[in-house]
Symmetry: T
Subunit: 150 residues, 12 copies
Amino acid sequence: MAKPIYILNGPNLNLLGTREPEIYGSQTLDDIAKLSETHAQSLGLSTAFHQSNAEGQLIDWIHQARNDGAGIILNAGAYTHTSIAIADALSAAELPVIELHLSNVFAREPFRHHSYIAPVANGVICGFGATGYRLALSAMSDILNPQSSS
Amino acid sequence: MAKPIYILNGPNLNLLGTREPEIYGSQTLDDIAKLSETHAQSLGLSTAFHQSNAEGQLIDWIHQARNDGAGIILNAGAYTHTSIAIADALSAAELPVIELHLSNVFAREPFRHHSYIAPVANGVICGFGATGYRLALSAMSDILNPQSSS
Amino acid sequence: MAKPIYILNGPNLNLLGTREPEIYGSQTLDDIAKLSETHAQSLGLSTAFHQSNAEGQLIDWIHQARNDGAGIILNAGAYTHTSIAIADALSAAELPVIELHLSNVFAREPFRHHSYIAPVANGVICGFGATGYRLALSAMSDILNPQSSS
Amino acid sequence: MAKPIYILNGPNLNLLGTREPEIYGSQTLDDIAKLSETHAQSLGLSTAFHQSNAEGQLIDWIHQARNDGAGIILNAGAYTHTSIAIADALSAAELPVIELHLSNVFAREPFRHHSYIAPVANGVICGFGATGYRLALSAMSDILNPQSSS
Amino acid sequence: MAKPIYILNGPNLNLLGTREPEIYGSQTLDDIAKLSETHAQSLGLSTAFHQSNAEGQLIDWIHQARNDGAGIILNAGAYTHTSIAIADALSAAELPVIELHLSNVFAREPFRHHSYIAPVANGVICGFGATGYRLALSAMSDILNPQSSS
Amino acid sequence: MAKPIYILNGPNLNLLGTREPEIYGSQTLDDIAKLSETHAQSLGLSTAFHQSNAEGQLIDWIHQARNDGAGIILNAGAYTHTSIAIADALSAAELPVIELHLSNVFAREPFRHHSYIAPVANGVICGFGATGYRLALSAMSDILNPQSSS
Amino acid sequence: MAKPIYILNGPNLNLLGTREPEIYGSQTLDDIAKLSETHAQSLGLSTAFHQSNAEGQLIDWIHQARNDGAGIILNAGAYTHTSIAIADALSAAELPVIELHLSNVFAREPFRHHSYIAPVANGVICGFGATGYRLALSAMSDILNPQSSS
Amino acid sequence: MAKPIYILNGPNLNLLGTREPEIYGSQTLDDIAKLSETHAQSLGLSTAFHQSNAEGQLIDWIHQARNDGAGIILNAGAYTHTSIAIADALSAAELPVIELHLSNVFAREPFRHHSYIAPVANGVICGFGATGYRLALSAMSDILNPQSSS
Amino acid sequence: MAKPIYILNGPNLNLLGTREPEIYGSQTLDDIAKLSETHAQSLGLSTAFHQSNAEGQLIDWIHQARNDGAGIILNAGAYTHTSIAIADALSAAELPVIELHLSNVFAREPFRHHSYIAPVANGVICGFGATGYRLALSAMSDILNPQSSS
Amino acid sequence: MAKPIYILNGPNLNLLGTREPEIYGSQTLDDIAKLSETHAQSLGLSTAFHQSNAEGQLIDWIHQARNDGAGIILNAGAYTHTSIAIADALSAAELPVIELHLSNVFAREPFRHHSYIAPVANGVICGFGATGYRLALSAMSDILNPQSSS
Amino acid sequence: MAKPIYILNGPNLNLLGTREPEIYGSQTLDDIAKLSETHAQSLGLSTAFHQSNAEGQLIDWIHQARNDGAGIILNAGAYTHTSIAIADALSAAELPVIELHLSNVFAREPFRHHSYIAPVANGVICGFGATGYRLALSAMSDILNPQSSS
Amino acid sequence: MAKPIYILNGPNLNLLGTREPEIYGSQTLDDIAKLSETHAQSLGLSTAFHQSNAEGQLIDWIHQARNDGAGIILNAGAYTHTSIAIADALSAAELPVIELHLSNVFAREPFRHHSYIAPVANGVICGFGATGYRLALSAMSDILNPQSSS
C-alpha cells in the first residue's frame, strides 16, 4: 500500500504538550507524529501528518487525500461539532475514515456529544490519549487488509 | 496482573454469526471470545467473557468484576441507550471501563447516538467489527500499564 | 404451517382478569391463551403462548421463535415504550411481527404514544381488548398466506 | 343493527390500485368497498363507503354518520396527522370509531407517527393492507355486540 | 395490621456500605433492613425487605405485595427514571406507595430529575440517607392509620 | 440547640383548612404550626413558623434564619417552580434546608414537576399532608444530630 | 355603516344545540345567528352569518367580506390551530377582526392553546358561550366607532 | 348581588394614560375605574378596583375577594405569564374569573402567548383597550345571571 | 411534449394585484397566467393554470395532472406549511414538481420556513415575484429536456 | 444633568460582603454605594442607590426613576431571569438602562443565561465584580453625553 | 451595468464533475463558470466567478463585491447551514443576493433544511443542478432591471 | 506590565465606519484601534490590535497571545455564536478574557443570544458602541491590578 494514511489534526492541537502537561502528558504533536509514523511502519503503512487551525485548510487536505491517500484519521477537534463542510469533504473522499479524539468527549460538555463526522466515518475511537493514534492506525490497517484479522 | 478483564456482552449479541453472515461476518460470539483471550494473552492479560439478554445479569457481572476483575470492556448493545442502572454499576465498580460497539452506532438511528455509559467510561471504540475487541484489549492494556506506551 | 405463532406478553399482563374486572373484563391471560389457540386452529395455525415480567426473558423467547416459530404477536406492555433491545431482537428474528395492545395506548399518557417496536413490526392493533388477539391471528394468517385474502 | 357502518377514506385513497400496483397491490378502492360490504354482511352488518380529498366533506359525512350510522371506520390518510377538525367531529359523533391505515405509519416519516384521531378512537389498526378493512369490521362487530366475543 | 410493608430496593443498592463508605456511610443494606424492621415494630408494623438488580424481579415482588403486603416503600434506584413497567405494576397493586431515595436526586444529573414512579406514589422522600427508610415507615404508618395523626 | 428551626410557608397556604376541608382536611395552618412546635419540642428543637404570599418577604425571613436559625423547612408553594431568588437566598443561608409539599406535586400539572429549590436543599418530602411537617422535623433533627440515628 | 359584520363559523359548529345540550346549552347556531342580528341592530349594525366545515369556503367568505363587509367576527373552531391560510386571508382583508371561541380554549388540550389567527386579529374573546357573540359585536362597534366609547 | 366585582390590575398599569398617550389613549387607570363602576351600576353590579406592582398584594386581594367578592376581573399584566401563585389563588377563590388584557397579547412577543391564569379563568378578553373592562363586566353579569341572556 | 404543465395556485393567490399593489405589484393572477403561457410557448410548452382556496380541490387537480400533465409547478401558499395530503398527492403523481413562492418565505415568520412539499419536489424557487413563474417554467423545460441545457 | 442615576439592586444583594468574603470580597453593598457615588461625581453625575428583595418594590423605584432619574443601572439579581414585569417597567421608563451583574452569569447554570431585561437595555456588563458599577456609570455618562467620547 | 455579478461557491464545490459523475453530471465548476458567463452576456451582464473552501475567503469576496459588484449569487455549500458570519457579510453588502444550491437541500438531512443566508437573500433557487446558475442569473437580471419584465 | 493586551476583532468588523455611518457612527476600526491604544496608555497598558474574517487566523492570534500577551479583549462578531474552536483556544490561553460587542446582541435575533465564548470569559460588555473598547480596557486593567480598585 504505497499511498500514505492522512492523519489530520484540527484547531488547538498544535498546543499539545505545552499546555497543562500534568493532564495531557508531555507529548507534543510532533511526538505523536513520530510515534504514528513508527507504528504505521510496523503495520506496513506510511503517514502524512498535518495540523491546522483553519477549517478550509483541513478541507483542502481531505481533498488532497482523496487523490493521494489510502485513508484518513481525523482528529478534528472542535470542528467535529460544528463543521458540516468537513463532513461533506470526507464523504466525497470515498476513503476509509476514522474519527479520533484524545479525550472522552462524551464525558465533557453536551455540545461535544454531537459529531457531524461520525456518521460518515467507519468508526470512532476516543478517550485513550496518544494511544488512540496507534489504535486508529491498527484499525485502519484492519480495514485496508481485512484478511489479516483473527 | 492476575485478575481478568471482564468482557461483557448485552442483548442479542448471542445471535452473532448466525444472523446475516454476509453483513456481520461469520464469526460467532464464541469465536470472538477466543480471539479476545488469545489477544489478551499476547498482552499478558486474561479475560472473563460473558453474554446475557438480561439487564440485571449484566449488573450482577459488573458487581462481580468490581471485586474480581482488572477492567471491564462492555458491549452493552441496546442497553447502552436506555440503562442508567448499568451506568451506575460501572460507576460504582471503580475500574477502567471501555465502551465497545461492533457497528458505527453514530451512522444508525438517532436513538443510538446517546449513551448513558460513555460518560462513565474511559473511552469508546465503535465501528470496527470483531477487530474492536482486540483494539479494546490493547487500549485496556495501555490504561493498566501506561508506562508501556511510547 | 407446522411452526407455531409465538404470542408473547410482557410485564404486568399476568394480572389480567384479577385486576379491576369491571374495567378490563373477567378474562384472565389463561382465558386469552385458550381463545387464541382456538382461533388459531380455526385458521390452520398453532400458538406458543408466554408471559414474563422480565425484558431478558422476552428477548430469549424472541430468539427461540427465530428458529422455531412462524411469526410473533407481541404485547410488550410497558416495554413497548422503553426497550430498544426487544426491537433489535424482533428485527433479528426475520419473522412477521404484529404489535398488540389491549387498550388504545394513544388515548393514554404521552409516554405511551411512542413505540420502539412499531417500526420493526408489520402492523399494529390496539384498543380492542381480548378481541385484539383474534384480530392479530387473522392478520398473521393473511400475512403468511396472502393468497387467502379476497 | 339496521344502521350501516360508515367507512370513510381520505385524501389520495382514490388512487389505490392504479398507483404502483407492485407495491400497493392491484386492488382499487372499489374492490375494497366490495370486500368490505361482503365481510360486513357475513357479520350481519352493512356499510356506507365514501372517499374524498376534501377535509370539509369528510367532516360532513361524519356528521351524517352521527344520525344515520352505527359506527365509523376512518382511513383519514394524511389528514390523520393534521386535522383537529376531523377529530372534533368524531368526538361529537358519539359513535364507535376505528382508525385504519393500509401501511404501518410508524415505520414511515416521523410526522406520520402522531395522530389527532387516535385519542378519540376506540382502537387503531395499521399495516395490514386491504385486510385491515376486514379486521376493522370484525373489531367493530365485537364492539357493537360484545357478548358475541370468546 | 398483619400484612408486612414491602421495602423493595433496586439496582446497585446491594453495594451499599462497601462502596465509598466515607460518602455513603458504613451502613450496609443489611443494616438498613434491620433498622427498618426495628422502626417498623415500634410503629406496630412488620417489613418484607428485598433487593434485586433485575427489573422483572422487582415487578414480581410488587405483584406479590399486591396480595400479601400492606404497602410498598420502593427505592427503585436507576429504574426510577426508566421503568414504565414498574410504575404500571405499582399502579395495579392498589396499595399505598412511597418513593424513596438515599440521595437528593434533584441535585444530581438532569436525567435523574424525572421519575415514572412519583405520579403513582402517595409521596416522595429523598436526600436523607438511611434515615429516609425510618421517615418512610412513619409516613406509611400515618397513611395506614390516619387517625393516629394529631 | 438553642436556635429555632424556621418553618416558612409560601403563597396561598394561609387558606389551609378553610378551603375544601373534605379534601385538604380541616387542619388550618395554625393547627400545623402547633403540631410542628409540639413535635419539635419532643425532638429537643424549637420552631419559628411564618407564612406570606410575598416572595420578597420569604427571602427576608430566609436571610433572618441565616443569622438566627438552625435550619429551614420551606413549603414555598407555587414559588417552588418560579423563584430563582428564593433558591439563591437558601443557597446563601448555609443552613440545612428541607423542601416540603403537602401534596404529591409529581402527580399534578407538569409545571409543578420542576423545582428551583430542590437542588439547593438537603432533601425533599412531599405528598403526606400535615404529617410531612413532622417528618421534616424528624429529618432535620437527624441532619443536625446525625449521631442520634440508629 | 351600511356594510354588514361577517360572522363566520368553522367546522362542527353546525352541531351546536343538538349535541350534549346539558353542557353546551340548547341554543342552536340558528339561535345564535338571530341573537347576533338582534344585538347588532341595537348597535346600529347588521350581520352576514355563515358556517362551513370546509377551510376553503371560509377563506372564500373572508375574501367576500374584504369587499362587502365592515368587519369579521370569526369562530374558526379547530382551524384556529392549524390554518395559516385563513390567517393569511384575514390579514389580506384589511378589516377589523375578532377571534371568538365558545369555550375557554386555554383550559383545554395544549394543541388548542396556539392560534394562527390571534396575531392578525384586533382582539380575542373566549369562554363565554353564546354571550361571546354579543360581546364581540359590542367590541366591533367600539372599534368601528371609537368616539362612541367613554 | 350585594358583593362587589373585584377588578384587579397588576404591574405597570398605574402608568396608564401618562405613558405614550397617542398609543394607549389618554385614559388613566382612574378613568377606567370610573367607567367600570358606571358600567357595573348599569348592570346592577358594583366594583372594588385595585392596582399593585407586587405579586403578593394581588394574591392578598384575591383571597379577600374569596370572602367579600362576587367575581374577579384580573388584568395581571406581566404576572400573567410567570405567576403560578396567582393562578393557585384564583383557583382557590372559587369565584367566576375573567382574564383581561388591554393589548392583543398574542400579537406580541412569544413569551406573552402563554398564560398560567387562562386555564383557571372562565374566559379571556384581550385587545380592546379600555372597552375590554366594560366587555368583561357584561360577561361577568351574564355568568352571574345566566337567565338574563338571550 | 403535448401534455401541459400544470401551474397550480393555492389559497389567497386570487387576491393578487388588488391587494397592496405598491408592494406586490399591479399584476393580477390572470396577468401571471398570461405571461406564463407566453413564456411556456417560447419554450415549446403549454400550461394548465388553476387557483383554489380549497386543499381538496388542489389535490384533485394534482391527480388530474398525474394523467394529463407533463409536470407541476405549485405555489401552494399557506398549505405549503400544513398539508401532508398535498405532499402525498405530489408524491403519487410521479411527475417533475417545482415548488414556487412569490415572496422569500425564509425571511418571514418561522412557521413559513418549513415545507412539507419541498422534500417531494425537484427544486424550489422563491423570492422573485412574478418572475419566479418564468424561472420555474425554464427549470421545468430543462428537467423535461435535459439535453437542451448548456 | 441634575437628575440622579438610579442604581437599583435586587434580591440577596443586601448580603454582599458578609457572605463568603474570600470569594465575593469584603466590600458590602454600602461600600459599593459609596464608590458609585464617588465615581459618579467624578463624571459630573449623582446617584440614587437602592436595594430590595421584593419585585414590586423594584418596579416602584423604576416608575419613580421615570420621573426623577436620568438613567437606570439595574443589578436585578435572580429577577433578571424571571421577571417580565420589571422588563415592562424598564421599557415604560423611556430612560437609558444598563443591565449589570457582579458575576459572569454565562459561566453559571443555564437558567441564568436568559435575561428578560437585556432586550430592553442599552447594554450589558457582567463578570467584573464591584468594578462593574464604575464601568456602568462610565457607560451611562457616555450615553447621556455622547459628544464627550473621543 | 458595468459591474459584474459575483458568483461565489463554497466548500467542496471544486470537486464538481470529478466526483460521482453519474450522479452530479460530468460538468466541472469550470464548465459552470463558462456557461454562467455565456448566459450572463446574453442578459447584458458579466460575472466574477470564485470558489473557496475557506469561510474567511468567502467573506472577503463578499466585501469586495460590496464595492465592485452589482449583485451576488452564492452557493455557500455547507456554510449555508452554519455561518452567521457570511450572512452578516451579505447583509452589509447592500446588494441583491440569490441563494443557490445544486441539489434540493430540503430532500436531504434535516440539518440542511435551515439556512442562515436565506433570510438576508432576495430569493432562493435549489434543486436544478447547473441549470440553477442560469436561472439565478435570469432572476438577478430581473431584479437589477425590473422594468424589463412583462 | 510589559506584555500588550490583544484586542482581536472578527468577521465583518473591517467594514466599520464605511457602512451605514448614520447608525454605526463614522468611526472606523482604525479609529477604534487608536482610541484603544490611547486609553490603554492612560491605564499604563499597551495594545496589539488585529482583525480577520477567518476563524483560523483568530485562533492563531489567540495562541500567540498565550505567549506574548497579558490579556485578550475579543469582539468575535458572528463567530461568537458558532465557534467552539475559538472558545477552546481562549480556554487554553490561560489569560484574562473579555467578550465585547458593539451592539446589544440580546436585543437582536435569537441566534445571537447564545455565546460559546462567554462561559470561558471573565466578563461580557455589549451595547455601548466604541465606548465598549474603553470600558473593556478599564475592566482588564482592574483584573490585572485588582489592588488599584476602590
